[in-house]
Amino acid sequence: DAMVIQNPRYQVTQFGKPVTLSCSQTLNHNVMYWYQQKSSQAPKLLFHYYDKDFNNEADTPDNFQSRRPNTSFCFLDIRSPGLGDAAMYLCATSRSRGSYEQYFGPGTRLTVT
């Protein structure tokens, strides 16, 4: 009965090699979020989609992009990963802008070699 699914759970990529992380949801929620969480730090919002409307946080590096082809799926693309991009990436959803509970996926741990 997984509601927010992230694949893969662990991803290893090489320095500078593009990588894509995926998230899917069975909740039919309008809003999807991507967070970056580095070791022993707080989750940090990268961007979110309200339906197809993309919203980038001001300090999210240009190296990070996102796609949401439909309600269920959202992708995080890292164009040229650096060593500093190694982190846990969390996907979350919420029903709408007026609904504040966010439902999180299990995360994808990205290692950059």
Partner: protein
């Protein structure tokens, strides 16, 4: 800009002892405050939010606007409460449900 501070990285208590996880925030407007919890090998999930005024799993949290705090309390800790706890803030009436998280406090409840 908003900020959430959890001053304790680790809090260790014995089973049956009271527990208080501290959270302080800074935000110029009206915030909504949350506690999220992550148990071992599980995903991050909502524990409670101030606007609901609920007690979840014996935990309560009161928003103190004067002290800009939202401390999480439980009178008698249980071993199953051991987890990572994150305090989070969202501006009320915010169109995007933006959450700003604190750094988290790891609660360890010893038998």
């Amino acid at each position: 800009a908003q900020r959430v501070t959890q001053p304790e990285k680790l809090l260790s208590v014995f089973k049956g002892a009271p527990v208080e996880l501290k959270c302080n925030y800074s935000y110029s407007g009206s915030p909504e405050l949350f506690w999220y919890v992550q148990y071992s090998r599980q995903r991050l999930q909502l524990l409670l939010r101030h606007i609901s005024r609920e007690s979840i799993k014996g935990f309560t949290a009161d928003l103190n606007k004067g002290e800009t705090s939202f401390h999480l309390k439980k009178p008698f800790a249980q071993e199953e409460d051991s987890a990572m706890y994150y305090c989070a803030l969202s501006p009320l009436n915010n169109a995007g449900n933006m959450l700003t998280f604190g750094g988290g406090t790891r609660l360890m409840v010893k038998p």
